[in-house]
């Protein structure tokens, strides 16, 4: 498969500059990682509306809230582990509870951070953000979807969490597609098994579908890019039509997206399931692709899970 590779972060920077051009109310904050998160693009284009908060994530989230109280639409960025861990209480108390128009766009999520190791990786962020009322949680699959999701988040009233990885990832979504919050997209039709991918695991799901096809198995591939609100309709239909489901995410298996899907299906249409995810362990240093292999997050595990789950169909 010859996919072009693109950075989600660069698409974020580009989207911010576009938003800055369109709207005077856009303000961007960062916590000394503007080069990494690419908010530096906005800083260069609109220096008056960019504020570096230094290495002080808690104050950054509170400041974002205050700007939003005064009518601004605020994007606050840092690494996902610091945004959702270090500043969890500020996001909960000062952003989500008062339902303010702050978009927390975090980069370097998951284990693909690579060499920095477990202190800088996060596999809990989706669980943390998802558990907060009023919060919308988006995990784009690639660069173009990141760009479109950022534009959509700016139009949405209320707090949003957007998760991005560090690595360049395959371009698998169309560039000129409006992002619909709460709508999963079916990338490939099939009725033998449904592969539900999240973020960087969507591309491995597509590769897995190709490999399964060679074995005569027609896999449906769903890009579940909004985690909250969850597209219950698409998931239930996939379960009814395919009879079994595999979820794949670069996140802890505990309280991950697989858990959410399992809960929905248990209530609406109990279906055999397998979950590909981090197995409740901390990561380590290494190259991104090495780490994905080490922790069982590649198409290989998706294929194996698909074959296992199909055997459990009655």
């Amino acid at each position: 498969m010859s996919w072009a590779l693109e950075s989600q972060r660069k698409n974020y920077g580009k989207a911010l500059v576009e938003l800055g051009k369109r709207r005077k109310d856009i303000v961007v904050l960062d916590a000394d990682l503007s080069g990494s998160t690419r908010t530096v693009e906005f800083k260069t284009a609109y220096p008056d509306r960019f504020f570096n908060c230094g290495i002080a994530e808690q104050n950054m989230m509170g400041t974002a809230a205050g700007l939003a109280v005064c009518g601004m639409t605020v994007f606050a960025s840092t690494f996902a582990v610091f945004a959702t861990g270090r500043a969890y209480d500020q996001i909960r108390q000062s952003i989500a509870y008062p339902n303010l128009n702050v978009k927390v766009v975090a980069s370097h999520a998951g284990i693909t951070v690579g060499g920095d190791g477990a202190s800088h990786q996060t596999m809990e962020d989706i669980a943390l953000m998802n558990a907060i009322p009023n919060m919308t949680v988006i995990v784009p699959a690639d660069g173009p979807e990141t760009y479109n999701a950022v534009l959509a988040a700016a139009e949405h009233r209320g707090p949003v969490y957007i998760r991005m990885g560090r690595s360049e990832v395959p371009v698998i979504t169309p560039r000129e597609a409006a992002f619909k919050i709460g709508k999963a997209t079916t990338l490939r039709e099939g009725s033998d098994v449904a592969l539900v991918g999240v973020g960087q695991m969507v591309a491995p799901c597509l590769l897995a579908a190709d490999a399964l096809k060679a074995k005569g198995i027609n896999a449906r591939v769903i890009n579940l890019s909004t985690i909250k609100p969850l597209d219950v309709g698409t998931l239930e239909r996939a379960a009814r039509e395919c009879g079994c489901v595999v979820t794949a995410e670069e996140h802890n298996i505990v309280s991950g997206v697989g858990t959410l899907v399992a809960a929905v299906l248990a209530e609406r249409h109990p279906t055999p399931m397998e979950r590909v995810a981090m197995q409740d362990v901390f990561g380590q240093s290494g190259e991104s692709d090495e780490l994905m292999k080490e922790y069982g997050l590649s198409e290989k595990e998706v294929i194996a899970a698909a074959i296992r789950v199909m055997e459990r169909k009655k």
């Binding site: 509170g62 601004m72 108390q93």
Partner: protein
């Protein structure tokens, strides 16, 4: 703000007494709440809401007004009393404090209570929010002030000092923080629990303009707030020496009344001392 004169100070002192009666009555009706830190801050809140700040319920949707953040959210009763007396919601509603389905939550909620600018309660977060407001006002070219009332106990939160660095770095001259220095927190004296002194030196070292006042002396409060408003170039903090539980003899400097409601007898005595009837 009008010029300070004895007559006006008297009026404001009477207003403060009536707000204190609201506070005691609300907390007695609720059966729980924080009288100590509401009563220590009453004179400051009275000066802000009835003299210093330019605000009104009709202009809540506009940013072209002064703004207030109650960082010490447990002082919600005095905040609600000041808002109700300013016309943001009916005074009769005050006694619904902390009751199921009330608009008056135990700690301030922006989404529930008319006039509440920001939800607070988890300590140490208000000053960061005030930073954001001050920045936004500057971006919108609005020559308005942001007042942030902090407790002294919450000075132990690291976020306060992150916010202090930020405000000085960005020269937020439209930001005025007031520290209600009543010297007591839940577990005892601030200096015993987690020493804050030399508090003023800390703020100076962080690049703030530091002023002092007796936060229970209306004349001084008005003068000091007026002086703070004139300061240019950076943020101002006023260290306000206050008495926790001010105005009710048995609550004054009594850490036991940080977060406790008076019983019936105590309530009657408190109301008498505050010049009202129970």
């Amino acid at each position: 703000m009008k010029s300070i004169n004895e007559g006006r100070v008297k009026e404001l002192e009477q207003k403060a007494a009536s707000l204190r009666r609201h506070v005691v009555k609300m907390i007695y009706a609720a059966g729980s709440g924080h009288p100590g830190g509401s009563l220590s801050a009453t004179d400051i809140m009275t000066a802000l809401f009835f003299e210093v700040m330019d605000h009104s319920p009709e202009r809540m949707g506009s940013q072209d007004r002064d703004h207030f953040i109650m960082s010490k959210g447990h002082a919600a009763p005095i905040y609600y009393a000041a808002l109700a007396e300013s016309g943001y919601f009916p005074v009769e509603e005050l006694v619904t404090l902390r009751k199921l389905h009330s608009r008056l939550q135990g700690h301030p909620s922006r989404v529930k209570t008319p006039g509440v600018e920001m939800s607070t309660g988890s300590l140490g977060q208000g000053l960061s929010v005030a930073n954001g407001l001050a920045l936004a006002l500057r971006l919108q070219n609005l020559d308005r002030k942001v007042y942030c009332l902090c407790g002294d106990g919450e000075m132990a939160e690291g976020q306060i000092w992150e916010a202090a660095m930020f405000a000085a770095h960005y020269h937020l001259e439209n930001l005025i923080a007031i520290v209600d220095r009543n010297g007591l927190q839940i577990d005892g004296r601030t200096e015993d629990v987690m020493a804050l002194e030399p508090l003023a030196d800390k703020w100076k070292a962080f690049g703030w303009n530091v002023l002092f006042m007796d936060g229970n002396d209306m004349w001084q409060v008005l003068e000091t707030l007026n002086e703070a408003r004139q300061h240019k170039g950076g943020p101002t903090v006023i260290v306000a020496k206050t008495v926790k539980g001010k105005g009710v003899s048995f609550m004054e400097n009594n850490v036991g009344f940080h977060g406790k409601s008076p019983n019936e007898k105590e309530y009657e005595q408190a109301m008498r001392e505050l010049g009202g009837s129970a």
